[in-house]
């Protein structure tokens, strides 16, 4: 007779923790999100296409996803430089600068929106100098970008910083001893090592930017077809008691965001695997 050996685990509680994880995730994330799709499912196909495909809504997709991607890219570059400065050099007030990075996390987004608007408006501190040059930031797409850069910055800095701190000087010394100049060392050794963390930060900053509402609303100007973001379109539908229209747009946002985040995560897993790390 074959004896059946039950697989035992060193760490007990697998069933319990998996069950808890799934139940919690369902309660907090999946059930509310699925409500979006259920509500949408009440529409006919033509109504659905109408809701998600109207000219204003399509323009808002372009602005929301375009500005979010651009803002996350800009943050990836400058956030990396900031993290580099904070990790590699000591300067007076470094601790304060380090604490300032987190401010966009903590600040109510409306406050950020109002202060950015005050700064960049035609008569604002910065706007008054930019306006004569023909540069209009507030009340237009550039304003949206500025707000999204502001709220996304901490994500990049905080994900890259710990990896950079752990990056041993030995790797750079090794590269230099093999004849690499500073540029080659940074582009071939440092950046590839930071890439997975940078991608995580990028994904977080992007996701946050897509969903951002409070700060953008004040500075965007909300001109139809020009500077309306998708979350605003959802609010607008809600205000008109068009709940199905609102959830239809929301479901498009969900699918697109999920797809983009999945792609970023897969890319990240691929680079991490290539570097021989386990996730």
């Amino acid at each position: 007779m074959m004896s059946h050996v039950r697989a035992t685990r060193v760490l007990p509680g697998f069933g319990l923790s998996l069950g808890f994880t799934l139940a919690y995730l369902s309660l907090i994330v999946l059930i509310p999100l699925s409500a979006v799709f259920f509500k949408t499912a009440g529409m006919s196909f033509d109504q659905f296409i109408d809701a998600i495909g109207s000219e204003r809504v399509v323009a808002s997709y372009k602005l929301s996803f375009g500005a979010s991607l651009l803002a996350a890219s800009i943050n990836a570059v400058f956030g990396l430089i900031l993290a580099w400065g904070l990790v590699r050099y000591t300067f007076p007030g470094k601790k304060i600068v380090d604490a300032l990075i987190d401010l966009p996390f903590a600040l109510p987004t409306a406050v950020a929106g109002i202060s950015l608007t005050a700064l960049y408006a035609k008569n604002g501190w910065l706007g008054q100098y930019l306006d004569p040059l023909g540069i209009k930031i507030a009340f237009g797409p550039p304003g949206v970008l500025v707000a999204l850069i502001f709220i996304g910055l901490p994500f990049i800095v905080r994900t890259v910083q710990p990896i950079l701190e752990d990056l041993d000087a030995e790797f750079e010394e090794a590269a230099a001893s093999l004849g690499a100049n500073r540029w080659q060392t940074v582009t071939r050794i440092v950046l590839p090592t930071l890439l997975p963390a940078l991608m995580t930060g990028f994904a977080l900053a992007f996701a946050r930017a897509v969903g951002e509402y409070g700060s953008v609303i004040f500075i965007a100007g909300n001109i139809p077809l020009v500077s309306e973001i998708t979350p605003l379109m959802i609010i607008t539908k809600l205000e008109q008691y068009d709940y199905q229209g609102a959830t239809a747009i929301a479901s498009v946002m969900l699918v697109v965001s999920f797809t983009l985040l999945l792609i970023i995560n897969l890319l990240q897993a691929y680079t991490a695997k290539r570097q021989g790390r386990t996730l």
């Binding site: 790797f171 590269a175 093999l178 590839p192 890439l195 021989g276």
Partner: protein, 364 residues
């Protein structure tokens, strides 16, 4: 390439890592920088490489002053203790790195690079891992790849910082032999840092013994082991029994005991340390006479052809931190002396090396 180190000093904050070190290392030899941790050996190696800059002094490589040159300009190969292999590159790309970053005019073409990298991987007997990533290799394999990578740029001198420090004992021993063989094939001037005296004495042509930021002794492994020049050299290399005391005529007074030092012309009252190797130390019965230091047998280790007897000094002043002695004798002697744990005996030596305790200089 010969290496000239002149009057190099380096401090880190209040800590003096190197204190006026002068060295001349001839071409083509395999040299060990040996010393306890914190003695400045790694700092000296990094200064030779150009990874660290000295506060004062100069470095000359092959007769050319290199003091103000960067590590890129010095043409040295550097091997790190923890390998420092680039994790995101395959083994092949790691070894090829030094060739790929050469200025365009000097950069070999892809075929030449491939041929050269594979030749180096053959040399370190790891051609079969070319496509793997460093994380898929064992420690010993990683260190060999690190060596191949350093050799790819044809350095004039190879510097290795505790190359086997992170490996387990068996792999260390293998790699040690292998490094020696490699050096005999390539004859590239090499300097390696180690705190392991066995490693230094076994592998190197010449050993530089360092302590507290200065050089204690330079010599062949034979000289270092058999003719230690300083008190430190004697105590650091090999196992040794130390007897610290004052001269009283023909004897050394150690606590309440007397030990014949067998030397003439020593002023009474001089503070000295006498050293004796375990195989030059004998055990006498406790009541055989006046000569010898009284000690108690602690353990008898009988694995091997020679037995080792571990003893504890019985002097009253050393109760808080017991002082251990070690004697190597034949199992027959153990039997004839009737040694067992707890038995009190006397220790003496006819080959006592005496050093002045204040000046650390050798007396005899």
């Amino acid at each position: 390439m010969s290496i000239e180190v002149r009057n190099i000093s380096k401090t880190f904050g209040a800590f003096k890592a190197l204190d006026d070190v002068t060295l001349s290392l001839p071409k083509g030899e395999l040299i060990a920088l040996l010393g306890p941790s914190g003695c400045g050996k790694t700092t000296l190696l990094r200064i030779i490489a150009g990874l660290e800059h000295a506060d004062s002094g100069s470095i000359t490589l092959s007769g050319r002053d290199a003091t103000s040159k960067t590590v890129r300009e010095r043409h040295v190969g550097f091997v790190f203790q923890h390998y420092a292999l680039f994790r995101h590159m395959s083994v092949f790309e790691n070894v090829a790195f030094g060739l790929r970053v050469k200025p365009r005019a000097q950069r070999p073409n892809e075929n030449v690079i491939r041929e050269k990298v594979m030749r180096l991987l053959d040399l370190v007997q790891l051609a079969w891992v070319a496509d793997r990533f460093p994380s898929q290799l064992s420690g010993g394999q990683r260190q060999r790849i690190a060596l191949a990578r350093a050799l790819a740029v044809e350095p004039e001198v190879l510097l290795l910082d505790e190359p086997f420090g992170a490996l387990d004992a068996k792999v260390r021993k293998e790699l040690r032999r292998w490094l020696r063989r490699l050096h005999d094939e390539l004859h590239i001037s090499s300097v390696f840092v180690t705190h392991d005296q066995e490693e230094a004495l076994e592998v190197a042509d010449r050993v530089v013994l360092m302590n507290k930021g200065h050089v204690e002794q330079i010599g062949s492994p034979w000289e270092i082991y058999n003719q230690p020049a300083t008190s430190f050299a004697y105590s650091f290399i090999g196992n040794v029994n130390a007897f610290r005391g004052r001269v009283e005529g023909g004897n050394l007074r150690v606590g309440n005991d007397l030990l014949a030092h067998g030397s003439q012309e020593l002023a009474d009252g001089t503070s000295v340390i006498g050293y004796a190797r375990p195989h030059d130390t004998h055990i006498l019965p406790e009541f055989a006479g006046q000569d010898g230091i009284v000690a108690r047998v602690n353990r008898i280790l009988t694995n091997g052809a020679v037995s080792r007897v571990e003893l504890i000094a019985t002097g009253e002043c050393r109760k808080d931190a017991p002082e251990y002695f070690e004697v190597e004798i034949s199992p027959a002697e153990i039997a004839s002396l009737g040694l067992e744990a707890g038995k009190r005996v006397r220790l003496a030596s006819h080959k006592l090396a005496l050093f002045n305790d204040t000046t650390q200089g050798r007396i005899q």
